[in-house]
Structures are given as C-alpha cells and as structure tokens.
Symmetry: D2
Subunit: 324 residues, 4 copies
C-alpha cells in the first residue's frame, strides 16, 4: 500500500474548454440537465443535482476544445499538504493559486503527460434557495427535471503518451489505487483504471495514439440507473447530439456507458453501474489486447473513434467521424 | 362476443376541469412534461410526446375540478355510425357537436352514470415543425426532455353509482371487453376493468362511495418503464406535487402505478407495465373483497383516500387528505 | 382495410428443429427459464411463465435446425373457418391435421415461401398444480425463478425470397396489418413488420440473401423490462450461449433486443418494449437502405450475420460466425 | 475524525441462526439464488455471485433465529491489531478464535448491546472451478441464474437498547463513519446509519422496543438494479416467502428496499441503490420523529412490524404479523 492512500477524496470539478460556448452551455444545461450556478469572465459554472459542492463543471470559452484543468479535493487540510509535498518532490508542481468560484486556494501542477491539475481542500457547499429545497434533506438539491438530469461528476479519462508513468505518479503522489489495466503485447501499459474509493474507476489513463500531450478522452457524469442512460440516449437522438457509442456495458469497470460529443467537440459520457472494490488486497485485473478484441462486455465492438479521438484534436488525426 | 367489438379504437383525449388553470397548466407542462399545442377560450390543449394525435388533454378553467368529457375514437367512419346507433338506442345520446381543436364532428352522450363522452372518427394528426422532427420517423414527435416526460394517455378511471350498469353499457354499446372485476359480498359489482385492445385496461369503473354522479377517479398517462415512474416520483416530491399513492404494482392489471393530485384537485396517474390479453376467450378475473384486502400486488395497503376521493369533490366527504 | 382483419388472435406456438436436442432443451429450460410441460416422441413442449396456453415451444429432434412449423390461433371457430377458406382459395392449403399436445385440430398450409404454418382454435389452457398456483390469480402461472425467466412468445421472423408476396398473403388471407417495411433502391420490399394487435410486430418477413426457401430468421420470447433483457445477457455470457447481437434498441419497432444462438443453431431473441399502434388509420413507415445504414436506434451497426444467417443454414453461405 | 478510520474494510459475513435449517437453506439457495460453498457441522456456508470471498452467510441450526455473529474484515494485518487493541481497551473483547471455513484467526468481541462480532484479516478467496469461470475476469464468479440472484452482502441492521452507545463504540473503536441518525423528542438517539466506505450505510443500529439485547433487525443482500429488487418481489410472492415491506425507496440512505422473512424467522432485505458520500467533511443528517412520520421517501408508511420485530423474537412482543 502506498503512503499516499487516503489523502485525496474525490474529483471536485473539471474545466472544459469550448470554441462554441453558447452551444456547449445549452448542451450541458438543456440536454444534460445541469444547473447554471454562476458566470465569471468567459466561464460558466454548472452542477449536477446531487453534488454537495458549488459546481462540477467550469465551461470556458477557448480557441479549441480540451481539458482546462481537473481538480481533486483532499480529505483534510493536512492531507492536502502531504499531497502537495509529494507532488513538489516529483518536480511537477506549478504552485498555489488563489481559489476560484466555489473553492479556496488550490495547488496547481501537471501530471507527467501535461494535464493541468489542482488539489484543494476548502470548498463552498451548495445551498439551495429557501423555495427550492429538496424534500429529502439528505440530498443537496432538488432533482433536475430537465433533459438527462445527470446527478454528479463520476470520472475523468485522460489520454497519455506514457500511461504507466502517469498512473504510477497518480498512485505514488496522489494515492490512487489501480483496479484494472491493459498491457500490450510488448508489455507496455496502454490503459489504467484508478480510484480513490470503492467505485470501480474515478481516473483513467489510456494511450494517446498521437504524439500530442495533455489531451482529454472524456468526462463522465453519473445517473442512478441504466434506464436513465438509455433515456438520455433518446434525448440526445432527438436534440441533435451525436452519439459516438450507444448504451452498453463496459468490460472494464462493468459500467454502463453512453458516449456523445458536446457541441464544442469534447467527448462526454453518461454513466451508471459498475462494480465495487471492497477487498483491501484487490489485485488489479490485467487485460491483453486479445481479450480486448472481443469487444465490450456483451461483445459490442468498440467504435474506432474511441481509439484516436481526443481533445484538443490532433492535426492530421481523423476527426470524430473518422475523416482525416 | 358482443357485436360492438372492434368499432372503437382508443381513448382520444380527456377534458379536465380545473379551478386553478395556471397552476394546472404548469403541472402538465413542466412536471408531466407535456407540450402545449394550442389555446382556445378558457382551454389549453396538451400532448404527450408519443401521441399521433393533436392532443390528449384539454385543460379547461372551471369552478370545480372534474372530467369535462372523454372522447373515444372509432376504428372507421362506418364503425362510428354503428356505435352512435347503439348509443341512441340506449337512449343516452345528446347528439352531434361540431368538432374541436384537433378533431372533427363528435357524437356526444352520457354514460349511465352521467359522465360526458364523445365518439369521433376524424382527427388531426400532429405534424412536427421541420426543425423539430424526431430522428426515428416511426415515432410522431421528439421525446420530451421535460419533467416526467409522459408518452401518451393510457386509461381513464370513472366513479359510478352502478358499476355493473356502466360496464354493461360500455360492453354492449361501445364494445369494451371486461378483463377484471371486483364483486362485493352482496354480489354487486364494485369495480370493472375494460379494454378495447390487448392492454389490460383502458376504461375502468369503480364504485362511488358518495351519492354523486359523473365523477372522475383518475386519468393515467403512460411512460415506457417502471424506472421512469419512479423518476417521476422523485420529480413530484421536489416540485411540490402531493403524492397520494407511491410507486408500486397493482394486483388488478399488474400495472405499475404512481398517483398524485394536480393543482386543480384531479387525481393523475403515471403508469407503465401491465399484462396483455392475447386469449380471445379470456375469462374475466373476479376478485372478492377478502382478496382485495391483502393490498396491492406486493402487499402494499391501498391508501384510504383512493376509496372516497374523486372530482368534483363531494360535499361532506373527506378531502384528499382525509379531512372531512 | 382487409376483410381478414380480426380473424386471427396471436401466434400460438412454434416448433423448432434441433440437431442437438439435449443441449437445446437445457438452453430453453435452464438458461431461458422455460418450463417443460410434456414430452412426446422426439419432441419436448415448453412454456414461458406468462402463457395461458399449454406451451409456446415444441422442440423436436431433427437433422438440421430450422422452423418445424408455426401456429396461429384464431379469434373464434367461425373466424378460423373464414381464414381457412381464404388460404384454400389462395391454393396454399395442405389440409387439416389432428391436433397435437396442447391443441385441437389444425389446418396446415405453407406461406408463399414454404414456411409450414397451422391455424387452430381449440387450445388447452395451462392449469398449475394446486401447490404451484401463482399468488396473483390474473396470471396463469408462477413466475419463473430460473435463468432469463422469459414470459411468453412474442414474435417470429421469417426469411423469404419474395417478402412482398409473403406479407401480402399474410395481410389478405390472415389479416395481419403492416406497420413498417424496408424498400430497396429498386423498389422491391426487403422487410415487412406485421401484427395482429397494437403490438409493433408479431410476424416479420425479411429478405433471404440465399436462394433457399422456408428458412427461419429468429423466434423471440418476451420479458417485461429492458433490465431483464440485460440480465439475460449476463446469464448468456456466463453459461456459454453465444451472443450474436448485444442488447440495444431497434429502429424498426423500437423494441429492445438481444440475439443469441441456441445450441441447435437457431437464432433466438429475448425482447421487451416497442411501441403500440392505436391509430386505426396507421400508415406503414417505409425505410430506405440509406436510412437503415445508420444502424439501430442509437446508431449501433447491425451485425453482419444478421443479414445472411438463418436456419437451416444454406450450403455455401457463411455460418453464424461469418466463416464461409 | 477518529483515529480508527480506515482500519476496517467491509462486513465479511454474518452467521444466521435458524430453527428450520432445511427451509432456510432452500430459501437462500433457491429463492435468493446463493450458492452453497461448504457444509460443516450444523452449518452451511453460502455466497452471492459477486463476492470475492468464500462466503457471506453461515447458516447454522439453532433453537431460535437470530444473529450468530457478524464479521468485519480489516484493511491490513496491522490495522486489525490496532482495532483489536481499541476493542480490548473498551473492555469488550472475548479473545482470539481459530478461524472458520473461509477465514483465518478472528478476534471475537461483543458490541455494547451484546451482538457477537469478529474482526479478521486472513480470508480465503473464492476460486471457481475451471468449467465455471465467468466470462468477465474482473468478476469473481459467474452470475447466478437462480431466483433473486443476489450479488453480495450489503449491510447489517442491529437492534440495540443504547443506540448512541453502540454507534459511538462503532465509530471510536471500529472506525465507522456516521452518515444519518434519528433523534427522538427527548434528544435520545434512536437510529444511526454507519459506513466504512462511500456507500450510504453498512452498519445500522436502531432502537430495540423491547428490553432484549443482541437482537437482529435484518441483513441485506445487494442486487445491481431496482428492477431486480422488484423481480425478487415477484419471485417471493410466488414461492411462499412472506413480504413484510414491499419494494420502495427509503428516506434514510435513499436505498431501494424489499423486506421478507426467511423461513427461520430472520428478516432479510434485498437492496439496491442509495447515495454515495464523497464529502470528507460530510455532516450527518439528523431526522426528527415528526420528519420520520411522513413515511419513506415517496410517502409509503413504514409497516408496524418494522418497529418491534427482531430476532430472536421477544417473549410477549407481537410476532411479525402483529399478533401478540
């Protein structure tokens, strides 16, 4: 067990960059069913209905789509300090930044592939207006009655040149546990599924097929049932959201998935299900390319674009529709 | 088999009366997720997303809640004429009325308990605007992305003083088949579940515990899955809609139910599931009060208000909350 | 409207031929969760738990897989006679046969493609043993607690050389309504979805890519929810049943599907959902090859074997795995 | 935060006592769908299909029903030692026992109410026979195709005279976090929902209405979807298992529940859903009796027997059916 384990609690939020800010906002608000919490500069902050925090998405206008940054909350102020010290020792730290809408000071760094990350402790809790309180007071807000009505951010999948290097860093410095991985025929690691909790995955690294760095594969938001994932697919169909990969069950994590492209070009997942890891001695499951070739859990072939498309798009690589 | 069988196709729409037209409209539009099609006089017409017709609900301002009328579509012009002739022979006809928004001429009559009904053939089909067409052209409109997102009207439940008389009329004059019934210890019929199709129920008569006539028990709209019924319950909870009877499975019809009161006071159901009757010789299932006393399918006791509350409310009877 | 409409009620049963009778029996009993009702000669009769009849499957040992026959029940004795008269006029009749386990006399004929069919009226109802009665007396038997626990036969899909000829016969002689169809670029009909009820499909004809006649595409059994279809997929995975086409939603019929091969080689579907046709003037939806090319409802590409594999296999055509 | 946090991983198993060992075995095997792993003396060991361990249930013949003991697995050998030291300091320890089928040495103690508990580290992993391996190698065994097909033990609910004392001990000595509680009008704690993970509850203490000690309220096994809970209800209905509390959604934990009595008299739950606690500073939700009076999440009244029935039954208290 690594000494880092237990210092981080969960992904706090992501910042997504979009060249089509108005269309992206309409997607997350009207189709995903998230609530707009605040606007600041070129950014809009949104939340799923079951998040205790201010927001899980900062949507920022930019020239190209991609991940602005992702932030992870520590389990305590002291744990944050320990984590920061380990990151600094790894030589990857950029230093502290004053907070942002929804949270206090954050320590900014880059993972070995160049993804910008932040660690933070102080957060602002969401407090509904008096007339908008949920009936069940053990939930933070009223359920969304709009679109896919996603509940909360679930996981982030990052493309990386050196998957093994990134996941080792995430384990050693940040305390992520490795639950599953793909090992290529040359013994290189091409995918790693990591978690801070009993949930089957919270942070994923997969091989970037291009020479690019710091790219995003997808961000996933959670709904409570597979039926809601399928209802989301019906909504996406009718409101012009391109479905990349139709609802089915993953082999790895056994999560139920649905992948679409938001108008800015970022891949977004609606997810539910998946297994839990209760075993403290859990050995990571290792998959071979041959095993992966049989497709997802029920045999559905993985769509081709899943293997090369990320944001920002890489010049020369095919776009999401497979056209170079 | 009655000679009337096959002359009617399905419930076309209901007119609900409401003393709180604005609140009722907001309920059906924002919480039930129906679309406003047209306004005329003191009425608003709404539709579920999977209805081929113009509308399934005419919501009309009135002093008290209740059923304005319900309309049933014939299977052909000739079948309509046959049906009208039988109703006239029964001495219950009021005569033809010019159509209304969404349909052509209708023959108006009252069932033996005084519920106003219409029979019609000519209907207006819903045609979505060019920019609002569904992706699957075998469905009439885009799915709703709002609230409970109900698909279509499913069934109507009417209170009656003489259940047996009403259901016999519905069978003989209108061609409804009887699938289930409740017979009291004194051999009187206190409930009758009728259908024009293989669906387990489309028209229901249950005993009115008061001396009133022509009252409504509830109108039900359909969603495709039980999970959507439960999601509707979560939405109702948080948006101030009183739940009378929480989601569970009926013994009769085996439908999955959820009963609420719309702001005007009418009981509304969100429903899914239920069995199909393929057997042309199907014998109605008869239930005794003793059998009914074991509650709904999984043993949930039926809420008390279910037995006495209807609209318009009867002076002197308890209201929906059981207060006299 | 055809004069035949209303004379037939529903598919009564199918006879499936299998070269591996023991393995096929174990599949339908232990994995599909059907109950063995009776054995006679080289045949075993099985039923889904929600069928009012004796059985929906006659499983018969044979040299090659395929459809022995399918039987359809009339709505009355008189309707049966009318139907038989129309079939005789069409010159396709083989004549009456004495009944079989579970039903009385049946009129045997072949559709224009040579599929053996029977029409019948007299059937034996399933009566559970005293100790095995269901708690809800409006269902014919206790639910199955085994495997996929299918409820009842839902539809049959037949391969045909002349789809238009077959579906015209089914409409004119048998009273099937046409709800959807595929028309090729040369205006030939390559698929037709037919029904006797409001259910979106009960009998399907699709183009046989080989010169063979009388072949079976698949037989479908129903479960009440999409979740049960997905649970069936998990069961199939772990008990050695090859999944051909993983759970997803069809464009045509909008049914939720899962296709597998039973050990004898016949394609079997577990299905749920789909839309209902209440409109008596419903116009069939016509699909073009271009529209079909976008895959199933959520964009999943149709598996290749779906287009050529049927039973009995055609010499020279690829087998289910695509190997020629 | 308590220094104990992180030392325990999860409930390893429970031992249930039953005066009807054969009937109880048939219930857990044929209706719940668990697999028999081993028999020893008067006990049978069973497991849900998704458990990495040897078993989660030891079913032991006894004069009266109740909890034999429950066992919790530590996160490491060192963590076990720390936990044992804290329990010994609390003066509640009974000492080490040699292991049992499926696990190594265990430290036995009693919680303040007298429930027998064990702490252990060394466990035996379940290894399927070569011919019985699951297709997805990140799951421990093939899915069950029998009955309710439960996946794994989820939580245990214990009756206690001093809820506050017990949950304080569980927090201080064992490291359980408190997520929700009920506080009576006299400020006494009458219910406490505790967890070792992000799952909303794993160990619950509720007020025993009788003067008894060490009684069991219920043990819950998990299925992955609410639909499976409802399917379990259908199975229970038809196979003679008395349903105490039909499927619905809890207010506390927001879990979907279904409570039945196994033949020996112990209350058993089939559960799914519930929320996750990601916030490291999560403040427990406190409920008042007035708030509890509105019933479960969707308003369903809690059944009376839930408040007084436990095992072993208390002489003089009503039995499960409310008869004194």
């Amino acid at each position: 067990m690594t000494g880092a384990r237990g210092d981080l609690a969960h992904i706090a939020h992501v910042e997504l960059l979009t060249p089509k800010p108005q269309e992206s906002l309409e997607f997350f608000r009207d189709v995903m069913g998230m609530a707009v919490v605040e606007r600041a500069g070129q950014s809009v902050f949104l939340r799923g209905s079951n998040e205790y925090q201010h927001s899980s998405l900062k949507l920022t206008e930019a020239r190209a789509p991609g991940l602005g940054h992702m932030a992870v909350r520590a389990t305590s102020a002291a744990a944050l300090d320990r984590c920061v010290a380990r990151v600094e020792r790894a030589g990857l730290g950029d230093g502290w930044v004053d907070g942002d809408a929804g949270h206090g000071p954050a320590y900014r760094f880059q993972d070995p592939d160049g993804h910008v990350m932040e660690l933070l402790w102080e957060v602002e809790r969401f407090v509904p207006e008096p007339g908008e309180r949920p009936l069940l007071k053990n939930q933070p807000a009223r359920v969304s009655r709009q679109g896919a009505a996603v509940k909360r951010i679930d996981h982030v999948n990052l493309l990386a040149r050196d998957v093994h290097g990134c996941r080792t860093f995430a384990g050693d410095a940040l305390g992520y546990r490795l639950y599953e991985r793909i090992v290529a025929d040359d013994d290189s690691e091409t995918g790693a599924w990591l978690s801070l909790s009993i949930a089957a995955h919270e942070l994923i690294y997969v091989q970037d097929a291009t020479p690019a760095h710091g790219r995003l594969h997808h961000v996933a938001w959670w709904v409570d049932t597979r039926e809601e994932v399928m209802r989301a697919a019906d909504v996406f169909l009718d409101y012009g959201v391109p479905i990349e990969f139709a609802p089915s069950k993953h082999t790895i994590s056994q999560g139920f998935f649905l992948y679409v492209f938001e108008p800015g070009g970022n891949r977004v997942e609606v997810t539910s299900g998946g297994y839990f890891v209760y075993d403290p001695e859990h050995e990571p499951t290792t998959w071979t390319p041959a095993e992966r070739a049989r497709g997802q859990a029920w045999g559905v072939p993985t769509v081709e674009s899943f293997h090369y498309y990320g944001t920002p798009p890489y010049e020369g690589a095919p776009d999401a529709s497979g056209r170079a």
